[in-house]
Symmetry: C2
């Protein structure tokens, strides 16, 4: 396992993040220290870092450097963004950090910041053509993406801390002050000629947006899960603005989903986001948990690719999750193969009307159905669902992640129940989960002895029955045949046919 | 990883269980196939296995043997209990199995069955002096344990299937029939001269008792967890008898916690258990999930010990769980050391009145606090709690397991909330969880750089403040000191003192 640390010195907080990765297998965040340094505090218009915040910055940098030293992490990339970048006295700070901690901090430009933001988005969502927004503490980055490439980008001084300090310095946030933020942001956006007016896909990253998504999610009836893939609507955002403005600044951090030490500066960033959406004609924003730090990490992880992008984000995130829990590639791959044969055969026989979207969810559920065994064999179907919901699957929406988790949950035992989708549910989900669960439940049994003795399965419908013909590779397929016959009930019910395993 | 299969051919179901283990590190159940063969069906008083059940038995044995073959498991121990043991035509069945599957089935005597049950109990509970009961399908085993040794044992024909078929053959279970079961069981117990009349500790194992504990647990407000360590009271058992008898036999399996295919035979076993408790003067029974199969496995796992018993069950189960999730022994061991130093020091300074029980819970939480990192670094405190509750800690009661999970949960982030204990709560738990969480939260930070640079910590109380003096081993302990100062609030609040880290 290779370990790499990224130190991100933002206006609001400094963060040390450690990523572990095994080449070609998996990657994951393995450690994190966050300190609300608020280095930009009191910078005001003079643009000078004040002694107190500088002192906090140096001390925090020293701790981070000592941590990397003590835990033997040699690859450390420390970057500074907006607040430090724009400070007239930044050299003084960088020198103090270098002298006292040995850390050589890389001050990145607004364009570089936007580029890392794009790398984060393009590697954690399926956005092909669309727009991106990252709201930081000091600056906000806007991006235009075409064919997964970054075609335009800019960095504007519209960060959450900056706007809040400039326009909303008091406990109260009167309507007048909020309007002033809107006017200011709209004015700046006016200069960005490529920012659209008619919407499109919009992806958001950064702590402010993550917190807003978490807060909006708490208002919905959905399973406990990451905000990765959450869709924040403009209406939900408006409700959050009202809720935040109703509270004094010092209490805004008590709203569930909002981090306490971000409460006093979140409103400025929230209004900025709303204005960007309004000006751009966006009705919703897709949220990704990846950000600047992941962008920097992806550039290293994918060093062999130019640009450093995953070929297929959804596929990568499923495989990465499977590998993190050391799943048996050959076995789950074979369950996936048999499941897709069943899915396709049933479709051709006119026994379901599901399409490619469901086919891909089934594939993902197959690859992940056994990851819960890493927790415990007993109830491992429940554990697989827990891991899927809690680890997140970049590239999939919240709804898709819950569907994958449900199919993994019902790959064995129990009567499929899609009600945990809650507000994410769409028409037909009950039948969808039942069908996909019925398929994987049977396919898993056709591979019960984990030896691929059933090489493939043919599907046909005859006289009102569904006939499955396993093609047996090796001599003894008695276990899979026996097991499959015991596990056909759910599929039979889902397609309304008797199922016969014709061995 | 070594794998060993145990095949258990009981009266109600046949089960293949696979255990994986790494010598001196961990063991876990890694696969399981259960088939409700009901081999004793229709045996009646003639004691002859009928052709249909025999055929099911042979086919199931063939599948189990093929599974072991296909998955390359060479160590297979197949045992048969009561139904087959007592059948007049058992030789015929064993021969058919041997011929058609190659499995040589070991028919174990009632004494051997009781011995394995004792090994399961003595290795999964803290019972030192007490009694044990195992209710199987055909027979029930009673045990007397003194100084962890099995001093008396007997096997009686009082299994759940046998009693239900003999006394409760219909859909309804009239009071008269239930009384007849009681009389019959009491009569048999009368011959067991060492069965007590004044109670003591009683441990129960086997599927019937596991199901009853699960059903009783569903009636309580407790977190979702295993039945390992659950205490089933005589009153709760009586309520279950009423609930079961109120339903027709074919519907009893619909009671949450009762397995559907066990529903029609569980009432006989339930009344037997109630009678055994009444005759013995027991008010409650501690439930273990371990049973015959674990007994057989433990004999192999602990082959170097005579008798094959863990030295300290509680310690073993904590270490086993930690190792299953590849925790960093040195780091968690050091967090435990520092935590116990704080606990002891605070006690000596008169800042808490907790005793050895809490000290041990703190130790267990320390060893397990990071296991959730195996799931995901983000929210790993939540994941650690989830793993503890779902994997179970043999030797600890349900209440103790929830307390350990809570302390692991609050080793970082959030305000300790003990309300999830629900019906398991006792007076003072809120403060107990707060104190232990406050200690581990600080101790973990004193070992934040995972390099044991803070070798130990001295505790003293001065002028109303709590002074902690870290003894620094290596040069740079800046990370732990920095981190500990940020994480002292909870402990300060728990002991009502200001905390100073005097470095």
């Amino acid at each position: 396992v290779r370990r790499q640390a990224v130190i991100d010195m933002g206006s609001n907080s400094f963060r040390l993040v450690v990523y572990g990765h095994e080449k070609g297998s998996w990657w994951a965040l393995t450690d994190e220290i966050r300190e609300p340094v608020r280095v930009s505090e009191g910078m005001g218009r003079e643009g000078e870092l004040k002694p107190e915040p500088m002192d906090r910055a140096v001390r925090t940098a020293a701790v981070f450097a000592a941590f990397c030293e003590a835990s033997g992490i040699e690859e450390v990339d420390a970057v500074a963004t907006s607040a430090i970048r724009e400070a007239s006295n930044r050299a003084e700070l960088l020198e103090a950090i270098s002298e006292q901690t040995g850390l050589e901090v890389r001050v990145i430009s607004g364009e570089e910041e936007a580029r890392y933001g794009w790398l984060a988005m393009a590697n954690s969502t399926t956005v092909d053509d669309g727009y991106g927004v990252e709201i930081g503490g000091g600056s906000a980055q806007l991006m235009r993406i075409r064919g997964r490439q970054l075609t335009d980008a800019c960095s504007l001084p519209l960060g959450a801390v900056r706007l809040s300090e400039a326009f909303l310095p008091d406990e109260k946030a009167p309507g007048k002050a909020r309007k002033a933020v809107r006017r200011h942001v709209a004015g700046r956006l006016g200069a960005v000629e490529w920012w659209p007016t008619k919407g499109g896909r919009l992806v958001g990253i950064g702590g402010t947006i993550r917190n807003l998504a978490a807060a909006a999610g708490k208002q919905l009836d959905t399973p406990d899960m990451d905000v990765q893939g959450f869709v924040l609507t403009r209406e939900a955002l408006e409700e959050l603005i009202e809720a935040l403005a109703d509270k004094p600044a010092s209490k805004r951090g008590s709203i569930p989903g909002i981090k306490p030490d971000r409460g006093d500066v979140i409103l400025g960033g929230t209004i900025a986001l709303a204005t960007m959406m309004d000006e751009g004609g966006f009705k919703a924003i897709e949220v990704s948990e990846a950000g600047l730090r992941e962008g920097i990490f992806f550039e290293c992880l994918l060093e062999d690719a130019e640009p450093p992008l995953f070929g297929d984000v959804r596929r990568e995130s499923v495989i990465n999750l499977a590998h993190r829990y050391r799943t048996d590639d050959v076995h789950v791959g074979h369950v996936a193969k048999l499941s897709l044969e069943l899915f396709d055969g049933l479709g051709e026989a006119g026994l379901h009307k599901q399409g490619n979207a469901e086919r891909e969810l089934l594939w993902a559920a197959c690859e992940l159905h056994d990851i819960g065994v890493a927790i415990d064999y007993d109830d491992h179907h429940h554990h697989s669902a827990y891991l899927i919901l809690n680890s997140g699957l970049p590239g999939y929406s919240s709804r898709e992640q819950v569907l994958i988790a449900l199919v993994a949950r019902y790959h064995r035992k129990g009567d499929p129940d899609a009600s945990s989708l809650g507000d994410l549910a769409e028409r037909g989900d009950k039948g969808r989960v039942r069908l996909l669960s019925g398929i994987i439940r049977l396919a898993e049994q056709l591979e019960r002895s984990r030896d691929q003795s059933v090489a493939s399965v043919d599907v046909s419908a005859q006289n009102g029955a569904l006939i499955l013909r396993p093609n047996v590779k090796s001599a003894d397929a008695s276990v899979p045949i026996w097991a499959a016959r015991r596990s056909a009930d759910l599929l039979a019910e889902a397609v309304g046919r008797k199922v016969e395993i014709d061995a």
